[in-house]
């Protein structure tokens, strides 16, 4: 759901940049204070994985595709603040080098996917983990739900921006964006849960890097 230039009006563009800049400024301060040594390579690997996975569009329904956004996955692996910077790095490279997502619209794309997507994924994951406790499937179920919801809410944020810009009326943009991303979110949830399952089996210590870092 990378918004190209031309879809958003000036007011929405500026507001999105301002909110994103505020979120990223806070994230930089938090990362500066809390990021542990062992999380350094994890930020690189997560960014690389999300970039590559975002190229792999999967078909969801008659002539529509989706791809991983990765906000929830990054938040689960790194915590929300490093995850915001990782998603932003991916979006900046996509916009500057690959002409995927507009340059002016980058602020809105960062807001939807790096700020809102990450925060929704993180809050949902933490809430469900608390609710489910130490049940064996807690990580995977929470990861799936967090990923699904992060995509749907990011899509709704995009719909709100389109409506505020006068590009698409509310009653059209909100249900259309919401419905198609409820499907795409299933793919997001499955990929996120698969990565978490793989790490749980191979390197469970990597799943709790950020908890250790914040306790240290």
């Amino acid at each position: 759901m990378h918004i190209p230039d031309g879809f958003l009006n000036t007011g929405t563009t500026v507001a999105a940049w301002a909110i994103s800049a505020g979120g990223l400024g806070y994230a930089v301060r938090k990362v500066n204070r809390e990021l542990g040594e062992r999380q350094v390579p994890m930020m690189g690997v997560t960014a690389a994985f999300i970039f590559a996975a975002q190229m792999l569009n999967f078909t969801v329904a008659g002539g529509t595709s989706g791809h991983l956004l990765g906000g929830a996955l990054a938040a689960i692996l790194l915590g929300p603040w490093p995850a915001m910077l990782v998603l932003t790095s991916v979006l900046v490279v996509q916009a500057l080098l690959f002409q995927d997502g507009g340059l002016l619209a980058l602020g809105a794309n960062i807001l939807n996917m790096a700020v809102i997507g990450v925060l929704v994924g993180w809050i949902t994951y933490m809430g469900l983990r608390r609710l489910l406790g130490e049940k064996p499937w807690a990580t995977l179920i929470s990861g799936f739900a967090a990923a699904w919801l992060s995509v749907v809410i990011a899509a709704l944020a995009c719909a709100v921006e389109l409506a505020l810009s006068g590009t698409s009326p509310w009653q059209v943009a909100v249900p259309a964006m919401g419905l198609v991303h409820m499907l795409i979110g299933i793919g997001e949830g499955l990929i996120t849960a698969a990565v978490l399952a793989f790490l749980k089996v191979t390197r469970p210590d990597l799943l709790s890097l950020h908890q250790k870092a914040s306790q240290a």
Binding site: M1, H2, P4, D5, G6, F7, V28, V31, N32, R33, L35, G36, E37, Q39, V40, P41, M43, G44, V45, T46, A47, A48, F49, F51, A52, A53, M55, L56, N57, F58, T59, G63, T64, S65, G66, H67, P82, L85, V86, S89, V90, V92, V93, Q94, L97, F98, Q99, D100, A155, C158, L162, T167, S168, V172, A173, A176, M177, V180, I184, L206
Partner: protein, 102 residues
Amino acid sequence: MDIFKRYWWIAGLLVAILLALLSPLASPHPDGLERVAEDTGFIERAQDAPFQIIPDYVFPGIENEAVATIIAGILGTLIVFGLGYGLALALHRREHQPPHGA
């Protein structure tokens, strides 16, 4: 195996590059936003970028589109890895330095 414990991130980067190798198999259909824009009639508002470097994840000047896509994918994966790693390296807490305010 200590070496695997320490250099796990190389395995992680290899997985990402492996995914980039699969990129020519990606679904060619428009994504969710493009689909909505087409169906509800605002796709023509989209403007082209003022400059093009590797548009559509196809490295320019290579005849074979699958190869051009893979090269674009691997290049992007490595650049983003470097950016994420570099950002983390620049920002992370120095273990031997006293914490702020101490």
